[in-house]
Symmetry: C2
Subunit: 369 residues, 2 copies
Amino acid sequence: MTSEHSAPASGETPSATEIDDLVIVIPAGGVGSRLWPLSQPHRPKFLLDLLGTGATLIQDTVARVRPLSSRVLVVTGERHVDAVAGQLDLPREDLLTEPSPRDSMAAIALAAAVVEHRWGPRVIGSFAADHLIPDAASFRATVARAVEVAREGKVVVIGIEPTEPSTAFGYIEMGEALTGAARHVVAFTEKPDAETAAGMLARGGFAWNAGMFVVRTDALLGHLDRLQPALAAGVREIAAAWDGPARAEVLARVWPTLTRIAIDHAIAEPVAAAGGVAVVPATFEWHDVGDFDSLAELSGVAGTAVSIHRTAPVGAVGAAGALVVGGTKPVVIVGVDDAVVVESDEALLVTVRSAAQRVKDASASLETA
Amino acid sequence: MTSEHSAPASGETPSATEIDDLVIVIPAGGVGSRLWPLSQPHRPKFLLDLLGTGATLIQDTVARVRPLSSRVLVVTGERHVDAVAGQLDLPREDLLTEPSPRDSMAAIALAAAVVEHRWGPRVIGSFAADHLIPDAASFRATVARAVEVAREGKVVVIGIEPTEPSTAFGYIEMGEALTGAARHVVAFTEKPDAETAAGMLARGGFAWNAGMFVVRTDALLGHLDRLQPALAAGVREIAAAWDGPARAEVLARVWPTLTRIAIDHAIAEPVAAAGGVAVVPATFEWHDVGDFDSLAELSGVAGTAVSIHRTAPVGAVGAAGALVVGGTKPVVIVGVDDAVVVESDEALLVTVRSAAQRVKDASASLETA
């Protein structure tokens, strides 16, 4: 489902229609350590207004999904739940608090089990809290198409059409056509090296795995019963107690026992191998904004410097394409192309776009400095 | 005269002896625009404690020369005279204030004329306010030797033995031996290109021109009478009025008419061509600290980062040899070797050592930003 295909020419406007049997799940975890010092353990990426638009990533995510469903559940850590509640206009009972991080399978399975316990079997669509999708209407149209496929019992992923041989994302190998635009998933691949990525882009038939899952709760929990029975039993027990007086006791007792595993390894890969996963291809622009190189690209850095969250001027002498974030003083960059200068209340980062991935080690470097 | 030659083995300790007929002149001008944002028009380089030693460059300069003479005159601009007075323990009448910059010849000639008017003919030694010489004793021993030559009527320059084929300095071509260690000056050359500099270093017989002049006031003013008669007459008229009630009137009337010319062009070059300039070679370490590359070298930046004027830690990830000056927050540099990060109250500079010369355009880049 591409943005062109969802245009009014088709006579449908699925993006404007609420989908009765859909509940949105937003797992809000992950620090985003390559965006240090903006992101920090106490202030993870999803709480940031990275682009200076006035909306944080999680606010933007909720605004994007809400026309699809009035039921939006956010799963986040105890440390961040107050900040999330402050940023979002959601009922407090729809913020599911994890006592400790147990990886994405526990978070999404808990949400699925709570959904099913509250409202009976539903389709859930799970979307990360910290990605950026400029064309929300195209996104929603794609989700609507994915819901149609999910209703038949498949685990459905949304696959982003690659625009470059990125080594930063996992890939989805797409097989034969299923229904509509959906195709079978042959396999998921981990983040490839550059040569493998170039080969996949040249061969075609691969999509980026953006971690977007659309699936019936009973299908998901059924797979889980079979593949991770202890985890399934655990989240079902917690979900049964969630809206009652025993929640705290059950959560404290059961949550720490849940297996730490990503949904990709727990469900997506084994179910795909058995032919149970479908992919709905999408061509909407999607960014995980994982590092400052990605942020610079998103911000439209070209021949000149781009500033975010600052008003003081930026000068350049023999230095093209700078990204300057935060700080109150004038900044001048001399003789460093693609410079990235980021100032938070706590620290100053100086790097270049080509080194953006290594920023994840920046915080640790201070501890030994 | 090298530091080795001035060791106690010679039985002399000229560096500890005040020289009765010597007056020190310190022209304190020049912004030092390649050290922006530390140096600025309102806060020129000579007023800065660049290395964080606790002494500014002009304080360090005065401390270095004072054992040679209790008479130290500083020539500086109106805009900076209060700051200079605040930094130095000198009688106010020994701070000669220029109403406007008229280049080095007017500054030094005015000082020479004031000296001669106050005390009669003397030897003056003129040394820039913003250079760094770690071995002050060796410097003073060299000056003492230069004074001996100057007493005979020569214009004497101190020539620094080159340690590399620098393109940042002018060179002195040294000729036949004169007396003691002194040699005739064949010619002065402007800052050379790299090839010329390498050739001079290979051939030998060249010294860096550090702008250090030692000369009798009557010899200097005599040359000026002949070569720049209007300038000579002007400074003599101002000097005659300097310590009396007419100073302000004469200064306001005459100073603006003085020719703007450097002492190199007005005196050193033409007098050298006529055989009247001598050079005393010196091997003491000398730095003009003209840019952040020079400051980094002086600060001993090696495999790790060096901090000046800051206490917060500096981290590095794949980044060797950083120089970080000022600022209160932790700084991390990722993937940029030889980074230079400088923060003043007014601005932040990000550059690399190899681009240090281009920092002179940094301030202007903000005006068009």
